[in-house]
């Protein structure tokens, strides 16, 4: 699974963009989006996903169940 940003909640503050260790977050159409191909859920980097930790609006960066769980390269 990757994380995704609920567009209607996003204030486009850009706080998540700089924190993502995978450079998976970019601005698109006025809000920020996570590229699921790049998202590692921060596994191997941080205890909590950085987008979740820094987002000022609760429940905006959430698990996207459309994608399989990310596996850290072992």
């Amino acid at each position: 699974m990757a994380f995704k940003i609920i567009a209607s909640q996003c204030t486009s503050c850009s706080a998540c963009e700089a924190e993502c260790p995978n450079v998976a977050i970019t601005e698109k159409g006025g809000t920020f989006v996570i590229n699921p191909k790049k998202c590692t859920e921060c596994i191997g980097y941080f205890d909590i996903p950085q987008c979740v930790a820094v987002c000022p609006v609760d429940d905006t960066c959430v698990i996207d169940k459309a994608y399989p769980r990310y596996q850290a390269a072992s």
Binding site: T11, S12, C13, S14, A15, E17, A18, E19, C20, P21, N22, V23, I25, T26, E27, K28, G29, G30, Y45, F46, D47, I48, Q50, A53, V54, P56, V57
Partner: protein, 522 residues
Amino acid sequence: MHASTPQEGASQAGAGPLVTIDAVMQQVAEHKGCGTQGGSGKASCGSAAGQGDLPTEIWEKVKNHPCYSEEAHHHYARMHVAVAPACNIQCNYCNRKYDCANESRPGVVSERLTPEQAARKVLAVASTIPQMTVLGIAGPGDPLANPAKTFKTFELISQTAPDIKLCLSTNGLALPDHVDTIARYNVDHVTITINMVDPEIGAKIYPWVFWNHQRYTGVEGARLLTERQLRGLEMLTERGILCKVNSVMIPGVNDRHLVEVNRAVKSRGAFLHNIMPLISAPEHGTVFGLTGQRGPTAQELKALQDSCEGEMNMMRHCRQCRADAVGLLGEDRSAEFTTEKVMEMEVAYDLEGRQAYQAKVEEERVAKVAAKQEELATLAGAASDITLLVAVATKGSGLINEHFGHAKEFQVYELSTAGAKFVGHRRVDLYCQGGYGDEDSLQTVIRAINDCHAVFVAKIGGCPKADLVSAGIEPVDRYAHEFIEKSAIAWFKGYLEKVAAGEVAHGPRGDAAIRQGALTAA
């Protein structure tokens, strides 16, 4: 490991055509006056009038800064550029989710800019408003949570408009990491918002802080914040960078505690303390707005400012501007300088013209101060314990030059035999939404200046005149277009004589409300 994201050029959605700084530089270079290397010398002008108890070297730095010198704000303008959208802490009085164009409060902007757009906007504004001397970055997030964008903007502006003073406003969490960079970019003024030095109180204001890739909540988060704020303050003052502290007064949460905050920041070298009232209308959607946390009344705010005043200089003229405000304080011209308009504007940066204009402004200021001293001398010898407040309708330049009905705010002066002292301002603009719309606007005006004995205006109609008199506020229009302080002292002299002659019974006035609604655009 954490790989930092390149920020340059990343967030430009919705903005106008991108102008490279090279193009801007080219335009500037084609115009006279750009060859002058200003460095941090900036404009220095003659008079030391109005210095108060500030040390001379600090006064030299702040006297032409509209956000720092209460007197300068009549004469000089500032602008904020909104290049820093991200924030690293959450405050219960802040909500960046809603941007109402008809609103004026910190954290609210209509457009976010890239550093290049910001530099272009600064040049456009500086060539339109010659008294624009200060450029600040104050969000809408935290400038130091967006260091690449903030410092890139400073770099571009220091190259293209070297006479403009740079300042930034921060929550202080990331401050210790950036002090050296701040010094390197010749930022001579930094404002830190410090609402507490006690983490228990901080936990009621800050739900979380994000630091070192972790979210810290409650007392732990607040402790981290206060430690880093105070350390950052110390580091800045050690390097000789002026620091102002902003505090938001939240009744029942930190109001009493702010006296302690005042002591703490003064002992660490802050030169000015600005205690601002909480803005917490429910429609702003902030935590405090939604929980019904009230803001202070005018008298509560003044009492707290007065009780801190013995400790250090207090700032009284803050208007809690938008993070993209432009122009003189209280006179927002940001709508004239949208990205779209700025891109079309002819940018001609005229350093010499600016300096000539500012020299003229200085002459006016000196004349005003002389007039005040003259009138003050006539008060000498008058002995009275009476102190009272008066409101003044003014468009600026230190003159009583606004029609009562046109005033969007009143300046409040405290009069005593020691003279006239500016103690604040009261916004009275019409209320947008929020349930105040149907109220008679005259009543809201009276409520805002209800603690004043008189109101000085350039002109006033018969109806409001009668209503003011029946509310116990004397409307005074005989000093139209004269200097405020001189006129106020002259009126006060007459008032004292009437009291002495038994014509007027002096009594205290009531409290006044601080405007909570949104500013309606003119």
